[in-house]
Amino acid sequence: MTIGLVIPSTPSYSETFFNSKIKGLQGHGFKVVVFTQTVNPNFNLCEVVRSPKVKGNKLLVLVHTVNVFFKLLLHLKRVIRYYRLLKDNGFSLKTIIKRIYLNSHILINDLDWLHFGFATQAIGSEYVAKAIGAKMAISFRGFDINVYPLKHPNCYLNVWKNVDKVHSISRYLVEEAYNIGLEKLVPVSIITPAVDERIINKFVGNQYSKDYGSLSICTVARLHWIKDLTTALETIKILKNTLPHVVYHIIGDGHTKERERYLFMVNQLALEENVIFHWKLSHNDTLELVSRSDIYLQTSLNEGFCNAVLEAQALGRLCIVSDVGGLKENLVNGKTGWLVKSQQPQLFAKKIVEVIELSEKDKKTISQNAINRVQKNFLLSRQNSKFVQFYTTQE
């Protein structure tokens, strides 16, 4: 069976989700082809097909177009089928020509499944799977469902018409997708992100600070508004009144504009002594830092699931997160961590104080619950077999 995976760029070494998915599928005898715009030179897990050029040197684009034209001639039947599908669905000739060019790299391949790694990536390629006689699958991530459709209503109309199977990282995203038009008849499989036990085991067992004066809090988040670091920093500001030596570590980077947003906030709230931006760290260094923190904090406005919170639980950290989206499935409130109403720094600060005042025994219980639950339900090996099932069974 050949799976075509459409993703914006080939995964880098540290992106466990796609790398492990590809390795897992290959291990079960599947052939995987990645279709992408950006190729990471170190990626060599499987065959990679780059999407046709649309920008850059005009001469190069022209040469590329001629090349695409000849390649398509060899697969004329598919091109005609694709043309008819688009025409019958009311697309203009101009759009059809544009789409034939943009999807040419997929059209010339023989696939059993065409899987769009992000739902937004399927927009503009909705009829390609049908044209090449493959089944179409899409994956839901937070942004696909939580943000993009707000700005682009009805963006998935044609996706809903054509999709054969949906993969979602949480039940929450599926419910939201039903609200924006996904038919309930479409089979859905929920495969959450998972943790690699071999890596995690290296860091489990670090102890919390006994001295609350040196309380250490940590968040792994790219600097993006959806992560609501405004609430996180306001929480730290409140905590600082009673715990002047609290240290808040932020691991993650973002565009200059967002970097400046949070640096300026730290400057305005006079938190320079309390907040450390680590920018982007390697996965190993991230886990090391998370495992040394007393509290893991995630104040996001929304999350599809949030791998970082899962890893923090796997490391036995005391997690305090927003009660939004997939986080409610990620963590069991009061058992493996705590959910707090989003955008409420007062409530986050109150919860942090409550948690650090818990007895060592109670802390240990929550920490162990978190580790146990992750080990039971969220290990990479389980995820791999679920993906094999995804392509081979009807659900």
Partner: protein, 397 residues
């Protein structure tokens, strides 16, 4: 009598800021004004102003042609051969940024201005050569994000500005607050730094507009959707207003399409209470101001916020955060309303207090606000202030 000056205005583009256009128009009657820009055309040129095209960034051929023009004009003059060699080097390296710098310096060489007035801090890299050689009197306008935020969150930028600032002849600050920020970068007894408030043409609004209390409180903000504008705090304040059953509608002009704001409005179920529009032409903004109850400026930092001056001139009451220069314009409860920055509860409370005010009280405040801006923000004062700054720089250099 003071001598006639040759003044170069450098904004990066021919389309200078509206307030600078007003100054240029006025100064052009007495002095020679040159506007330098990386543009080749401008729809509405200001009379008597000479526009000097430095080549456009988007059209490399045009940039090349402009450089070639400068080279051949000077080829038989002193340094002409050196310029030619430099030009060839830049061409070989495909260095379009280098060509832009080259054109800027050559244009100044031809004009030989008394004053080079740089409109944005971000344009300073073009002036490195003339600042290092101390060739001209350079005046720098300090406003907005580039002085309010960047040097204080970007160490490289801070070091760069601390290195260049002492070489600059004079500074224009748009408010006392900005002047204070500037002093954090460079302070010296010999530093010339003049606060010049932007001037407003009051003839468009000869008196404050008619105002009545509306059934639905109409709140208005105007400005791009940048985090510095603090709209996220105002949206959270709107949630509070809704909870407190205040009948209101909030319009943000110029922020359409911003994902964060759209998300927040949906998340907090405020779709019926908040409208976000595209940017609108000035006339339409003024009309909206006439039809609104209160202008809200929830910003985290501002130099002065021209939109506040305009609202005060029109007669629209203003609620602002204490963000930099706005406190020089507004005295709380006298000429407007002030709340701390980053405080949604304070915003919401002040809006509710405002909603309870009598029309008489609001009208008294509107008249006082108009008097305040008429006094400090008229065009004549702004133009004279710039002239004084230029002569001060000439005298002290």
């Amino acid at each position: 009598m003071k001598p006639k000056l040759k003044i170069v205005i450098f904004d990066g583009s021919f389309k200078t800021r509206p307030f600078i256009n007003t100054v240029i128009k006025s100064l052009g009657k007495k002095h020679l004004i040159y506007v330098l820009g990386f543009d080749s055309e401008l729809d509405e040129k200001i009379q008597r102003v000479r526009y000097v095209d430095l080549g456009t960034q988007s059209n490399k051929l045009n940039l090349f042609r402009r450089s070639l023009g400068f080279v051949f004009k000077n080829i038989f003059k002193k340094g002409g051969i050196k310029d030619f060699q430099k030009f060839i080097k830049l061409i070989v390296r495909f260095d379009s940024s280098g060509l832009k710098h080259f054109n800027f310096n050559k244009a100044l060489g031809q004009i030989k201005p008394d004053i080079v007035h740089i409109q944005w801090i971000s344009l300073l890299p073009y002036c490195e050569t003339i600042l290092n050689n101390n060739s001209y009197n350079v005046v720098l306008s300090q406003l907005g994000y580039q002085i309010n935020v960047r040097p204080f969150v970007d160490v490289e930028n801070e070091v760069y500005l601390k290195y260049l600032y002492p070489k600059i002849t004079g500074f224009h600050s748009v408010s006392e607050a900005i002047k204070e920020k500037s002093d954090l970068l460079y302070a010296s007894p010999s530093k010339i730094d003049k606060v010049i408030y932007s001037g407003f043409n009051f003839s468009s609004f000869p008196s404050v507009c008619f105002y009545e209390k509306q059934e639905i409180l109409q709140l208005l903000s105007v400005g791009r959707p940048h985090w510095i504008k603090g709209y996220d705090y105002m949206i959270k304040a709107c949630e509070d207003l809704k909870k407190n059953h205040v009948d209101f509608h909030y319009t943000i002009v110029g922020a359409k399409g911003n994902e964060e704001l759209i998300y927040m409005i949906n998340d907090l179920n405020l779709q019926e209470y908040i409208t976000i529009t595209d940017s609108l032409p000035q006339k339409e903004v003024y009309q909206l101001m006439v039809n609104s109850s209160l202008l809200v400026l929830p910003s985290l930092a501002e130099g002065i916020a021209n939109v506040v001056i305009e609202a005060m001139a029109i007669g629209l009451p203003v609620l602002s955060t204490r963000c930099g220069g706005v406190v020089e314009l507004i005295t709380d409860n006298e000429t407007g309303f002030l709340v701390p920055t980053r405080d949604k509860s304070a915003l919401s409370k002040k809006i509710q207090d405002f909603n309870m005010l009598s029309l008489d009280r609001i009208n008294t405040l509107r008249v006082k606000a108009r008097e305040k801006v008429e006094k400090s923000h008229n065009i004549e004062k702004m133009t004279t202030d710039f002239e004084v700054l230029y002569y001060d720089c000439l005298q002290n250099h």
